[in-house]
Symmetry: C2
Subunit: 159 residues, 2 copies
Amino acid sequence: MKPKRPQILEEIHQGKPLHSRTQEAFLGLMRTANVVDRKFEAVVAPAGVSGQQYNVLRILRGAGKEGLPTLEVASRLVEQTPGITRLLDRLEKKKWIRRERCPSDRRQVLCWITPEGLALLARLDGPVADFDRHALGMLTAAEQRELVRILDKVRREGS
Amino acid sequence: MKPKRPQILEEIHQGKPLHSRTQEAFLGLMRTANVVDRKFEAVVAPAGVSGQQYNVLRILRGAGKEGLPTLEVASRLVEQTPGITRLLDRLEKKKWIRRERCPSDRRQVLCWITPEGLALLARLDGPVADFDRHALGMLTAAEQRELVRILDKVRREGS
DNA sequence: GTTTTTTACTTGACATATCATGTATTGTCC
DNA sequence: GGACAATACATGATATGTCAAGTAAAAAAC
């Protein structure tokens, strides 16, 4: 059986062979995440939000009436960002969230989603659910489990 | 056997269960790529380049004396970017690449890596090779193959 | 052979990300 | 309880990314 030429090489128009399977996996991981992320952005963009902004709104919807302090929002984001303050600034300017200094600990700033923010999320719930089903829906249940397991291992044992 | 609480939920401090395994896979993919990418950036940052810039230089080193037209460089990048022109502008300003209008097709602009660019890459070859070995080195050979296969399938059959 | 289309970028305007540093508040240790 | 460290952000400077138009050259159509 002859060794198969890696698919990723076709995609990045490269002739030279890869150095190793770990490199192939690394490139595949980056490219796949990039491709899938762009699709997600395309789903939420019509509503006028970026993927990050959408995620923040989801987090605040999940938090409910209690709200969440700024850095707690940041820590719940899938993609970590040091620019959380300005991300929230922009969401506040668009009236999708509101903020208030916490009375019990005046260092903190609590954030809540507004009714306008909730309405925006509601409009996107359908499309996002569709995206969830389709983005990785071509994988069998076993493949999905295996992918999750391997990715977990990468993050858990990452040196 | 009781169902295991997904690792990703711990990582993003979330109490609520996920809607589906596809969503878990989606979140895991995004987060893993983000984590691994940050590590890679940390490896090349000491040399004064971003991950994208490093990749462009690698591509041009691979191209050799012939050089490559701008959009061909863009198409070989793992993460696609519309901002290729300015990315190259910055590399040119730092003398790591040089550019010249193609005589046979004056629409194109050919790019080459400079000796300074090659020297920079040479300094990073060791650290990057180490990174390649360690970033996904915790996976067994079988897991690496399986990961590559599944990721390929996601990109290939992405609706 | 001239109009039309396509290709290969380039440019300007703007959004977003990143880093270092600054400030207010709280917690901790004698 | 007063100095000092740690926490929770905010801000300015700068780099980078993204989108919409624009331009010039080549290719295709007529």
